[in-house]
């Protein structure tokens, strides 16, 4: 704009404003955008358009730019991060969408202020916050040197604090280093597109640092994060799928922790599915089955939304609905390690308990576990500590907790899966088997050093098996109900109504609102 031709009238000023805004909306320019489109990758603004209810995006900071270096003023439309507010299913959300076409969506002064604003508003005014991640990290050289550091970093003492006032969602949609990685870890739900990378720093930098070539997939690919680290909840093939999953996740959540989740309609056929349980549960206690099939017979049709399906597979966690109301399902899966809980399984369940309890979602345990996995590998991963984290989280929950012992429930795991007073109410199936230790091992322990014959051991084992049935719990009221498997859905719906937090309108005390996000 020529200095001597400054707009004078309101009309001229508005016209000039319109031109600036239009230029800012072009992001990194038509060429860069076209290349992404050709590669089947969405851009910062198209992602927002698809994610939000049509026409509801109200942008904040469109004219924000980098003012650190004069030459960057014209090269940083929206300062590389598109931020604002909108609606999803008619409910308010805040959103930050990284624009990789502008300096790799790197973080700098102006865009960090934008994030701070959206974050503060969402937290204080009570609605979810969504990060669409694709960022190269902090902007260089803006942040270099002591003055750069002092200006750019560390000025917000609450930048990474979470009190889980409102749900946070993160999508890993490309290279995510620095802030996109941080927010993915802090989020309640993280979805990752295959091919994207989530790591502290880029493969290029890592290669430089260790003097060896580092492959992006090894450093932070979808397999690493969905199977080994568990930092990602679900993996998808495309940006569009990721956005659909965000909408789906949010449909299970309240807008903020002071309200209960929305109630949905119950799909026709949900009650009828309950009878299929008898076809899935094997007659033999030695036969495994996929507990997700049982879950699908109990919850409202197609309402089960699994978290971390490929991590800690011995446990299954996911959101679902019963009679239209959101619940958090926790189950042992006999398909994996016979349902024995390992460290990853413990971590997965603990994290899930924290999320459900923080957002007023009742918890339902479906139990079939021979105990914890024992051995050196688990001990190296601090198994006893993880088991205790799990117990602490379970015992700090103030949302209703229900437990159904389907088959095995042994030892300490009996407690971790809600046994005894670790649930508000426990039900057992007639197939339940409860004891401290599997009779086979227990026989060895009690006859240790006593020179018992095989016949004597056999008799001891049989006696133990006879005393492990559901009756032992029912007769001393250590279980509150005995139910047939096909009545589980009906039982849970009724019990949830009984256990509803009436005095607080369904709101828990959120003892774990500040629980760490990774541990």
């Amino acid at each position: 704009m020529n200095q001597s031709q400054l707009p004078e009238t309101l009309e001229e000023k508005l016209e000039e404003l319109g031109q600036r805004e239009e230029a800012a909306r072009q992001m990194g320019g038509k060429d860069k955008i076209a290349r992404r489109t050709a590669a089947g990758i969405m851009n910062a603004r198209s992602r927002i358009d698809v994610l939000l209810d049509p026409g509801t995006f109200s942008e904040t900071g469109l004219l924000g730019v980098s003012t650190v270096f004069e030459e960057d003023r014209d090269k940083t439309p929206a300062d590389g991060k598109v931020a604002g507010f909108g609606l999803i299913d008619n409910r308010r959300v805040g959103i930050v969408s990284n624009d990789f076409t502008v300096k790799g969506a790197s973080s700098s002064m102006t865009n960090m202020k934008k994030i701070g604003h959206v974050k503060r508003t969402a937290t204080d005014r009570g609605f979810p916050l969504i990060f669409l991640g694709e960022s190269s990290g902090a902007r260089m050289p803006d942040n270099m040197g002591s003055e750069g550091m002092g200006t750019m970093l560390g000025n917000d003492p609450h930048q990474y604090v979470r009190h889980r006032e409102t749900p946070w969602v993160s999508a890993v949609l490309g290279q995510c280093f620095g802030s996109s990685a941080w927010y993915s870890c802090l989020a309640d739900f993280t979805v990752m597109r295959k091919g994207a990378v989530l790591a502290v720093a880029s493969p290029a930098l890592a290669s430089l640092a260790i003097g060896q070539k580092v492959e992006p997939e090894d450093l932070g690919g979808w397999k690493l994060h969905s199977e080994e680290t568990g930092l990602v909840d679900r993996v998808v093939e495309t940006d569009e799928e990721a956005l659909a999953e965000i909408r789906k996740f949010l449909s299970y959540m309240p807008s903020h922790n002071g309200e209960t989740p929305p109630v949905a309609e119950v799909p026709a056929g949900s009650d009828e599915a309950a009878d299929h349980i008898t076809q899935i549960l094997p007659d033999s206690r030695k036969r495994g089955y996929d507990v997700r099939k049982i879950i699908n017979c109990i919850v409202d049709l197609e309402s089960f939304f699994e978290f971390k399906p490929r991590f800690g597979r011995t446990a299954v966690t996911g959101l679902a609905r019963l009679d239209g109301r959101v619940v958090g399902m926790v189950a042992n899966n006999p398909m994996a390690k016979a349902g024995a809980l390992d460290v990853s399984g413990c971590e997965k369940v603990t994290r899930f308990l924290v999320m459900c309890d923080s957002f007023n979602i009742p918890i339902i345990n479906l139990v079939d576990t021979p105990g914890f996995v024992i051995g050196i590998e688990g001990e190296k991963k601090k198994a006893p500590g993880k088991i205790m984290n799990f117990m602490t989280a379970l015992q700090m929950c103030t949302v209703p907790k229900l437990s159904v012992i389907m088959r095995k429930s042994y030892g300490q795991a009996y407690l971790n899966m809600g046994g005894g007073r670790n649930s508000d109410s426990v039900a057992v199936w007639p197939t339940a088997e409860v004891s401290f230790m599997d009779p086979q091992y227990a026989t060895e322990v009690v006859t240790w050093g006593k020179d018992a014959s095989d016949e004597e051991k056999g008799a001891i084992r049989e006696e133990m098996e006879r005393n492990s049935t559901y009756l032992g719990l029912a007769q001393i009221f250590a279980a509150q109900s005995v139910i047939a498997p096909q009545d589980t859905r009906k039982y849970l719906i009724e019990e949830l109504k009984i256990q509803q937090l009436r005095r607080s309108g369904g709101i828990g005390r959120h003892n774990m609102a500040s629980w760490p996000t990774t541990y």
């Binding site: 398909m335 994996a336 016979a338 024995a340």
Partner: protein
Amino acid sequence: MTITNVASEVIGSVWKVEMNVGDAVKAGDTIMILESMKMEIPVEAPVDGKITEFKVQPEDSVDEDQVLCTIES
């Protein structure tokens, strides 16, 4: 015509193979049973089709995600 790999979900060994090459299967049918941590783990067909190849036989050790057999549909 698509080939579907049927993969193991567990670490264990092959206990019983219930079908033969050429058999027609429906999604959900049990093709074989693995043994893992003293449990019998059924391997079910993920799709309808015909079994074209077995990559394992009884007593073979198997790993998570290892392909056990293929189905043509």
